[in-house]
């Protein structure tokens, strides 16, 4: 089945959902064969931190600015350049606009001559 009658882009969400249901049934089947001693709301379900006291919820939640820290460190130069370009001053936004108009006009002009 194709999205737009093309020979490529074969995609049917219905088949995908049917396949997902089959996978979920299989997962449920394997889960039922698992550990029988599990009990809800007992010591078994509490967080274990090498025997240490577990911090309060507020302290153990990793905040947004720490997520992907390594990625941002690696891309530091790229981000510095982008943040520097985004001055927040509207005059600069208009300058970008005028520069892009000029560049596009020059490109069309050159292509027209060639």
């Amino acid at each position: 089945m194709s999205i737009s009658g093309l020979s490529y882009s074969p995609w049917s969400p219905i088949f995908w959902l049917l396949a997902s249901v089959v996978v979920m049934i299989m997962a449920y089947f394997f889960r039922r064969r698992g550990q029988k001693k599990y009990k809800k709301d007992t010591e078994q379900t509490k967080i274990f931190l090498c025997g240490e006291e577990v911090p309060e919820a507020k302290q153990r939640h990793i905040r947004a600015h720490n997520v992907y820290w390594g990625f941002f460190e690696t891309m530091k130069e790229y981000y510095d350049a982008n943040i520097k370009a985004h001055t927040g001053i509207i005059n600069d936004y208009i300058i970008w606009f005028l520069v892009l108009i000029a560049i596009s006009a020059i490109i069309l002009f050159i292509v027209g001559i060639v």
Partner: protein, 486 residues
Amino acid sequence: MVVASLAFVEFLVIILARDIYLNGLHIYTLGASSPDLTIPENYIVPVRIILEVDSMSIFMAIISATVSLAAAIYSLSFMKGETGQNRFYTLLLLLVAGMFGMVLTGDLFNLFVFLEIASIAGAALTAFRTKFADTAEGGLKYIVISTVAALMVLFAIGIFYAQYNLINIGALAHVMQYTMLDKIALVLLAIAFMMKLASVPLHMWCPDTYSVAPASITIMLVVASYACLYALFRTCFTLYGVSPDMVTVGWIVITLGMLTMFVGVTMAVFQTDIKRLMAYHCISQTGYMLLGIGVGLAVLNRPEALNTYGIAAMDGGIFHIINNALYKGLLFLTAGALFYRTGTRDLNRMGGLAHKMKWTTIFYIIGALSISGIPPFNGFASKLLIYESVYRFNPILAIVAMITSILTLASFTKAFYSAFMGAELPEYQEVKEVPKSMIAGMAILAAGIIFFSLFPGLVVERLAHPATEALINQGAYISGIMGGGG
């Protein structure tokens, strides 16, 4: 009253869409004795304001009507505590009128007028909540960039009028000579619309404005920017059509589309303000649309390539517009819901909200999976069309588009973890789910996503592909005007 009128508008748009699908393009000449009398007696050119609605126009009208209805319902509770409700809803309807005018008109000057109407209403609505310090700045930025862009559009219209004594799109396309002045007008129009679209490097106003506007207004601003995308398409395909410059214009659009996609998503991952994060994603997703349409433009002069993959790329780009309006709208509304209950947009201060806001969490998951292109959601269907068709044009472009999609998923995973996951935080012990009207607003868009996810073939066949055909078939649009009445 506002919700009822917008629901009625939605109903009328659906009826008109069905009629256009069955019977083709519709013309309505304002002030004429007969609606299809485009050229009055003793005239050789159209002189009145003419509405010309084809499959592309009605496609945009469906998006405008649906998102506006969801926004109005959401606003009932979201804006309840604000003063000046009558002014708010008046401006909201004015913004709707501006968007509809832009996508339904067949006249360039009329397009400029409606662009101004939408811009003024949008800026006023952005700055509406004066109790917040940053809203006035967001509104100011929006009106300044809109006014400068509109000024360039007006310059371009002046160039056409000076040369051809015409301002009707179809009539202008009929006599277009592709002079040097026409090229300058093309650049002015295209870059002005790209400014309103927030295409990189003209994107910087977008996070500044979208992040401070009320959530229901942000989603309408997104759709208003898509009305400018429509204007860009009309300019390139209908006004200029198959001209030698279109290959160059196509490559300019592709280049800006790639930059928009990549810079948008990489800046989004970095954000910790949830609305700025989503605003950058808005920029990024526009890149996909520009890529799909840019490929169509670049091969417009090559029938074989156009039929092999160009039309599919355009189908994908256009399908992505409606998908993005739905899931981006839904995501902005969930961000609004979080702000409504927590009083902050800062992801660093959120956490564990899934325990308290179950509906909002479910809607966020639907929107996030969809925008990230995860099967079986509609975002996957439109991205698949774009990937496969663009790959045939240039594999590197398709690979960058896929990397962008991976970063999109990473970014929304970060926002999901930061806001919703984790143990309940003590400061949000009293937080509860948002009021029913806000849930209803989100539910409308979520229902649209699920429907489009289950039946992507139907949507492409009935909406996106006819819109692509309407764009490519310049002759039909011209004959709608020049061949009518008289």
